[in-house]
Amino acid sequence: MSSTSGGEVSIRDLSKSFSIGGRSLAVLRTLNLDIRSGECLVIVGASGSGKTTLLRILAGLEAADSGGVAIDGKPVHGVGAERAVIFQEPRLLPWLTVLGNVAFGLEVRGVPKAEAEERARFYIALVGLAEFGDAFPRQLSGGMAQRVGIARALTVQPEILLLDEPLGALDAMTKIGMQEELARIWSEENVTMVMVTHDLEEAIYLADRVLILPKEKGGAARLIDIDLPRPRERSESRFVRYREELLREFGLH
């Protein structure tokens, strides 16, 4: 139950600015990047560096000022069935059960209810919530609710999974467990994953490559390959060295 090929993203000369208080503020400046099919790319950067904006452009929720994005050679205009987004908040519909929420994405695409629910059950089990299918969102903890959000995204079997600080709102213990879960899901589902985070350790734990967006005008985006075997060990010396390298990039070390 996983998508096979596809999920290649090419970003060409992408620029985006916002006007805040009458002043134009450039957040992305002629960004060029190729995201390989099936890779896990993690985007980090100081706040205001445009990492969430980049993800929202990839999702089709915002339009670029100039330049553009193509997926498997086809230019992106708006949202598309080959992409699914996991937000920082679970964004569950409180009136639907866990099963209803996970099946929601398929149902709005016209998949018959029975079939949608059958596929939903598979992914609910995959995120470890098999016994909670009938629960309502208000009965779930933050971590469980986010798992439901992840299951909902996986159920539509996207080629590209876009994650916007998905673990940002969770406590430290839950977060580590969920990082392991995401790593497992990514390796099992063979999906291209693009994730925004402000947690450098999370970036190193999950990423094939880390994209660092510059904060200052004129700065260039940087890509760092994370060449570590999986599953990764946070205390390993090479892991720690990557961490120091990233901290240096941020001028914090």
Binding site: A81, W95, F104, V108, F136, V156
Partner: protein, 282 residues
Amino acid sequence: MTLQHIEQAASLGTRDGTTSLGTDFLRLGGRAGIRFLSRYGALIAFLAIWQVSSSAGWVNTAVLPPIDMIVAALWKGLAGGTLLGDIAISLQRAGLAFAAAVLVAIPLGLFMGQVRAVETALDPILQVFRQTSALALYPVFILLLGLGEASKVFVIFWATLFPLLLNTIGGVKQVDPKLLEMARVYGARQLTVFRRVVLPGAVPSIFVGLRLSATTALLLLIASEMIGANKGIGFQVMNAQYNFQIPLMFAAIVILAGLGLIANQALVSLQRRLCRWSNAVD
């Protein structure tokens, strides 16, 4: 005295060798009794004080007759059928007006909540209408529609329309935009977003409006029946007072209270069924 005291006493009894079946019954009975008392104790005390002070002659019995006389008058009116006709006509007036308000306010509110331009255009006039007391407009409605059923139903409709309309608009507007965006990401079309996100999200607020409107409907019903009516519960309250049939007057008031309670309870249980997901139902 709390629940715990009772439980302790009961379990001590078991240890002392009393039959456990007996203690269980005692405990169950005790629990139910306490739950009943904590909920209805104040009401029972109120009625008891009324009954005692009236039958003992502490208050003017002609103005506040004892409860048993009111109950007797109520029974006579219901069993004899004189009040049944009043109940029927009152229910018809309030029911028609309420149904019309539901049919107009909910679709209009859903539409206004969705389409910004419509809301902007209609909001000022809505605010003016809402702040104008329906009772003050009743003479106008009488002039326009005559002193018959039409003006009565219309004044109730007018007053019930606004709480429902404003709560429906509010319910639609307060639906979390993040949920709308989520639905959009999954490719939901506008109609699907409306049906699967906006509408269910607005339901709790619509119910607040329905319950407010039901209360308002009964209020305006009585007011309208006090002017130029010759039938109806509101008419009976006034009429019994004129004729100094005070127990009958209170019997009519009791019926009114009963109708209000039934209407509210019906809406609450409907809301419980429709909003199983939220525990915001009081």
